[in-house]
């Protein structure tokens, strides 16, 4: 199992418990009490470590290699997922998955960034960094959702748009901008859920929504802490300080009204119990969806526009 440095004490304790279990299976040894005691200790340890994670540590939980990704959620919360491919212009971008599905029987459209689990898949998914064709695929399928009056659920989990030569040649900027404009008045409900990293324009390009939900240890920011550090501090080693300053945690985002709801994660983070977090996400999506369905389309768009219009702090 992969562990971040601040998870190390948990890892050690868990290894010890595992070891004891092996011993415990030997005849004539009873160490159940000891195991129980250690498990309680492990739980307390998780509680105390996760109660005071710094923003930088939270950023690392958000990109934890074991954190559930879009398809992990879709497999757990949706049925009948039918993936759709391609932007009809240039290519299919595996960094964004999109398709038709059902959520509690209701037909919906799902769109999300997708990261890879092993080296091969990471390459294939380009680490969840979309290219213009990814945004254009998302746009095409969002417009399809609008035509067939299907609500859209998006799942945000990307370090950001891919900074590559081809991506620039094919108009990365315009692809993102177009999505922002179209989503702002798309005639169907949109719910965006930040399940991991909400990285900059690459995240926002599928993030303009009627409801924005975030998982407790997800982040959403204008630039990565490393990027911010290298620009403002001229030193990418200052990522920790940058993460602190940027206000990228779920609690700060909620304070600033950028997100509407924070979903509590299982103890130790979503990767410790993917089934439990998927169930929480499913419940939140169903609840928000039924609220949005009560609104007429005109009312829905007016509220979405108002939300965008009033975003900002000036004097």
């Amino acid at each position: 199992m992969n562990f971040e440095d601040f998870e190390q004490p948990i890892a050690e304790l868990e290894a010890k418990i595992e070891e004891l279990r092996h011993v415990g299976t030997a005849p004539g040894v009873d160490i159940n009490d000891e195991i129980l005691r250690l498990e309680r200790q492990c739980r307390d340890l998780k509680l105390s470590i996760f109660a005071k994670l710094s923003p930088w540590q939270i950023s690392r939980v958000a990109r934890h290699p074991l954190r559930p990704y879009t398809l992990d959620y879709l497999n757990r919360i949706c049925s009948d997922f039918i993936e759709l491919h391609g932007d009809r212009t240039f290519a299919d971008d595996p960094a964004i998955v999109a398709g038709l599905a059902r959520l509690a029987e209701q037909p919906i459209v799902v769109i999300g960034h997708q990261k890879g689990r092993d080296i091969k898949e990471r390459g294939y998914r380009n680490f969840g960094m979309p290219k213009p064709e990814g945004y254009r695929k998302a746009l095409r399928i969002m417009q399809l959702a609008e035509r067939f009056q299907l609500p859209i659920l998006t799942f945000i989990d990307t370090p950001g748009a891919y900074p590559g030569i081809g991506a620039e040649e094919r108009g990365q900027s315009e692809a993102i901008a177009k999505n922002l404009e179209v989503m702002s008045s798309l005639q169907t409900p949109i719910i965006a859920t930040v399940i991991g990293e909400g990285g900059s324009g690459g995240a926002l390009a599928i993030g303009v929504a009627d409801r924005v939900i975030i998982l407790e240890y997800s982040t959403y920011a204008v630039i990565s802490p490393e990027g911010c550090a290298s620009i403002l501090w001229k030193n990418s080693d200052k990522a920790e300080a940058a993460a602190e300053a940027m206000g990228l945690t779920s609690a700060r985002l909620f304070e600033m009204n950028v997100v509407d709801e924070v979903i509590k994660e299982p103890l130790g983070g979503a990767h410790r119990d993917p089934d439990a977090i998927a169930e929480s996400v499913r419940a939140a999506l169903l609840r928000n969806l039924s609220e949005l369905r009560k609104q007429g389309t005109a009312e829905l768009i007016a509220a979405r526009q108002q939300r965008l219009r009033t975003c900002g702090f000036v004097q």
């Binding site: 030569i165 404009e181 940058a242 965008l308 900002g312």
Partner: protein, 292 residues
Amino acid sequence: MNWFKKLLPSSIKTNGVSRRTVPEGLWTKCNRCGAVLYRAELSRNMEVCPKCAHHMRIRARDRLDAFLDRESRTEIGAGIKPVDKLRFRDTKKYRDRLTQAQKQTGEDDALIAIRGQIKSIPVIACAFEFEFMGGSMGSVVGERFTLAVETAIETGCPLVSFAASGGARMQEGIISLMQMAKTSAALGNLRRRGLPYISVLTDPTTGGVSASLATLGDINVAEPDALIGFAGPRVIEQTVRQTLPEGFQRSEFLLEHGAIDMILDRREMRDRIAAILALLLHLPVPPADARA
């Protein structure tokens, strides 16, 4: 020091300071061709080098001043000022950076929006002030731009914007990212009203500004040789680990790849944009300008 300099008597030695240094203010040098230029002449030429036509950066007010008719101008959103919601601090406090930028530029923030006319066609024009924290877009820029769009809608005027920006203002965190959505949403409303939006991309237009309001024009125009792109060239080079092609992310590259409609010389911007607007609005051919 080479052998020849060693032989020189100290009375005629130079101490290494370049004799090509010119007095502050009166003369300047083209940063492309190196020609020594008379400051006042350069400014009359809209900061375009008379020798090599290199487009240097121009202040937002000077640009709008040259672009709009002299008569009937009103500024939009002038009273709006930035606030430091995050109490952001990097190597310097955001508040101090703001104060410094305000002092240095005489502006409250990085966008100026004006309701005026171009060859008697009513228009809303706005321009980014790059000298103000790299023309970065935070809440004030987003709000002023949105007000400019709304004024265009209310008065039924076209909108022209001149972008010059490094992108979103990191010191305002996520709120700066959201300004991309806010401005793009406003432009969607303008588009639905059937009012023209001409976006002029100038050096440099990158990041969050490029990925929102700057690339959404009905007509996208660029000035010659401007750096335009989403990711900065340095970041791309580090990511892809190969040398970038010649002219990558320059206006000519964008024209070739279909991202912009045309490249216009700054000195003909007013004439050409007036002509475009007149065509889109079914107006007669605008008169030639009396001014040079």
